[in-house]
Symmetry: C2
Subunit: 119 residues, 2 copies
């Protein structure tokens, strides 16, 4: 982290607020493997409700991470895919997720020591 761009603290907070939730991460991860329809996403993620998936997709679309394409068929086919922007965050986000997975136990243990007053 040499000369990190910390002079505008808002962007990171804004980005983390939108991307840092469980469902957004899971949707981005699922779409990283290719274009999917709504029901395919639903199955890929597993325990997400239709309502929550719909809400998450809408927000990701509004932020420009996901593109929604409707094909005029009967019934209409709707597909979701990552945009270039969405694809570009996979690498840095994946590294932080990996860090969190690897170090979460250490953090939890540090908290327990702090709470117990034990060094």
């Amino acid at each position: 982290m040499e000369s990190p761009p910390f002079d505008q603290p808002c962007p990171i907070r804004d980005v983390l607020d939108r991307i840092g939730d469980q469902w957004s991460l899971l949707v981005l991860d699922a779409l990283a493997r290719g274009t999917l329809r709504f029901n395919e996403l639903l199955r890929a993620i597993g325990d997400v409700s239709k309502q929550m998936l719909s809400k998450t997709l809408k927000r990701l679309e509004q932020d420009g991470f996901v593109a929604r394409r409707v094909y005029p068929e009967v019934p209409p086919r709707v597909e979701y895919a990552l945009t270039d922007l969405g694809r570009s965050i996979l690498e840095p986000m994946g590294q932080l997720v990996a860090w969190a997975e690897a170090n979460h136990r250490a953090i939890v243990e540090a908290r327990r020591r702090a709470a117990g007053g034990v060094a």
Copy 2:
């Protein structure tokens, strides 16, 4: 992000909640350059209040990112330094911060288009 560890979504949310705020990022960044006393941190960060800096340091200490060392002098000297855990998050966090800085404008513009209904 090949085979990302998404099977436990909690850690990343937990980590982002604690680290993803402006003051935590600024404190980690300041301490990345070396051990500092409270007043030195206050000056390094600039527009943070004593109360907020104190609260931020306490949380970072509880989570194991920052070590606080008190020297029995008069007046007591208190120094803050990154732990190995704190140092280890600098790289992935810095990459995400850099991504956010570089792409925040694109996100804001995507939102504006979405709000305006313009493709």
